[in-house]
């Protein structure tokens, strides 16, 4: 059977609205993707650092105990601490490798008073009394420093929260801009189809009937345009994956700008949200205008 004809014709200038919604959806998808990448990176860094302790032993300046003796003493303290599953000295070459990106590998570097590192792993579920450990370490190796990465992890959590809230802010702004644009387009559409609206009104159509006839266009347009915008953003993230596979770092020091398959699924939310924002905005705008007609 022939489907029922659409009550309202599509606006002639509706193409511009489609472009705006597609751009908004693209930006929203980028913001959503950034949020997902930040969350994943934070989780990865946190799981990599959680349960790890590092002891730095600085080359002694005035201390009577030589460096090597302090290193061995610190290692003994670590191994003798309840809750620590494993402790080892980080080979000197590894330390040099760590500073290589900043200081290079010149022979001069070997002569620098670099601290020696000891790496310790906390047993799963165990808790280490850090103040007591710190006390014991400074007694055994006065030039040692204990780092439980707590400060770094706190900063990391702060950064992630910042990125996530910024993304929420961007998403809210995009939603607001989309709603304002649709509201403007709806009023223009109502003006363009004033005669149709008045005729339907005169024929006894309820405002909700007329609103439905209108909002359907905006819902569909936003769904399609939103899908296009989200698809473009997905392509960008897939390009990021391609670069990663090719071993090219998109932005140095930042996690790869890629989304996993399950994360890409979240982008489907963008056209859905765009279409509902458009529908609700169109409905409210239309009902407000219709309420002024006798």
């Amino acid at each position: 059977m022939k489907p029922r004809a659409l009550i309202m014709p599509r606006d002639k200038g509706a193409g511009s609205l489609d472009v705006v919604i597609a751009v908004m959806a693209f930006l929203a998808s980028l913001a959503l993707g950034a949020m997902l990448i930040a969350e994943r990176a934070a989780a990865t860094w946190q799981s990599g650092l959680a349960g790890r302790l590092t002891v730095q032993v600085l080359p002694p300046e005035n201390s009577a105990i030589p460096l090597q003796a302090q290193i061995e003493a610190a290692l003994r303290v670590l191994r003798g601490t309840s809750g620590i599953a494993h402790a080892a000295i980080v080979p000197e070459q590894e330390t040099l490798d760590l500073v290589k990106p900043w200081l290079g590998s010149d022979t001069m570097v070997r002569e620098l008073p670099l601290p020696r590192l000891l790496d310790a792993t906390v047993a799963p579920g165990a808790e280490v009394d850090l103040p007591k450990l710190r006390q014991r370490l400074s007694a055994a190796a006065p030039d040692s420093l204990l780092d439980d990465h707590g400060r770094w992890l706190d900063r990391l959590r702060g950064l992630t929260r910042g990125i996530i809230w910024s993304a929420y802010g961007v998403l809210a702004l995009i939603a607001l801009a989309t709603a304002a644009t649709v509201s403007f387009a709806t009023r223009a559409g109502l003006e363009a189809h004033k005669e149709i609206v008045e005729l339907l009104h005169q024929m006894g159509a309820h405002s909700t009937f007329i609103a439905r006839a209108f909002e359907w266009h905006y819902f569909l347009a936003a769904l399609v345009a939103g899908a296009i915008g989200a698809a473009l953003a997905a392509c960008l993230y897939l390009l990021g994956s391609g670069l990663e596979l090719a071993g090219i770092e998109a932005v140095p020091f930042l996690p790869p700008l890629t989304l996993h398959a399950t994360e890409l699924g979240w982008l489907l939310m963008v056209p859905v949200a765009a279409s509902w924002i458009a529908l609700l905005t169109a409905r409210l705008s239309i009902l407000r205008v219709l309420s002024r007609i006798y």
Partner: protein
């Protein structure tokens, strides 16, 4: 059915288009509304089909005082009125079938239930072969017949028509008046605004005459 008491109407700060108009349309009556151009016929019709609010007096429709009932009740009242506009006011983007079906869609009928009704009515007005035609592809007379079919398809309690035979040939004009009379016999109250004396004389109906916004004559059906 329709009761006007001392109704006045002016648009904004303009002159009074209707003054002190009082009349009653009884249920099942058939009335012609006549008068020279600018007499206020179209404004009177607009007040009846609830497109405008009067600036004075009171109007009752189907026993409901419009000033007392709330606007949320207007759509239900409007659905009981069929209107044939002088300029047809068809939906340009919809086919003849969809134009005629619109009042039934608004009333919430599903497509399966109204298909036959709409096709029969379009057949009756001689447009059985133009179901899918858009208004722009139809002649003025064909468009007017669609406008009439649309006005009567939902079997309204009150049928208003503004110069309904202005664009059709005399034969079709008579045929349309017969359709209005048939609907009238079925209980529909009919009010037709027209200049066409032959139309008025061919139907046994009373005449309401407006001049300068005043109701000057309320005649009984011609013998």
């Amino acid at each position: 059915m329709v009761r006007f008491e001392n109704v006045g109407m002016r648009y904004g700060e303009g002159r009074e288009v209707l003054r002190d108009v009082t009349f009653t349309l009884d249920p099942g009556s058939f009335t012609f509304l006549t008068g020279p151009s600018g007499a206020g016929k179209s404004t009177l019709l607009k007040l009846i089909y609830l497109a405008e609010a009067p600036s004075g007096g009171s109007i009752s429709m189907f026993g409901v005082d419009l000033a007392k009932t709330g606007r949320p009740n207007f759509p239900a009242l409007r659905r009981r009125i069929g209107v044939v506009f002088q300029d047809f006011r068809l939906f340009d983007h919809l086919s003849a079938f969809d134009n005629v079906a619109m009042p039934l869609r608004i009333a919430g009928r599903d497509a399966v239930s109204y298909r036959r009704d709409v096709e029969e009515l379009l057949s009756w007005v001689g447009l059985a072969d133009r179901l899918t035609a858009l208004p722009a592809t139809l002649s003025g007379g064909e468009q007017q017949r669609i406008a009439i079919a649309r006005a009567v398809v939902a079997r309204p309690d009150l049928l208003l028509a503004d110069e309904p035979t202005g664009n059709v040939d005399p034969d079709m004009g008579q045929r349309l008046i017969r359709l209005f009379e048939e609907l009238n016999k079925l209980g529909t109250t009919v009010l037709i605004a027209t200049h066409d004396r032959s139309l008025i004389e061919s139907a046994r109906a009373r005449e309401m005459r407006l001049v300068g916004g005043r109701l000057v004559a309320l005649g009984s059906p011609a013998a």
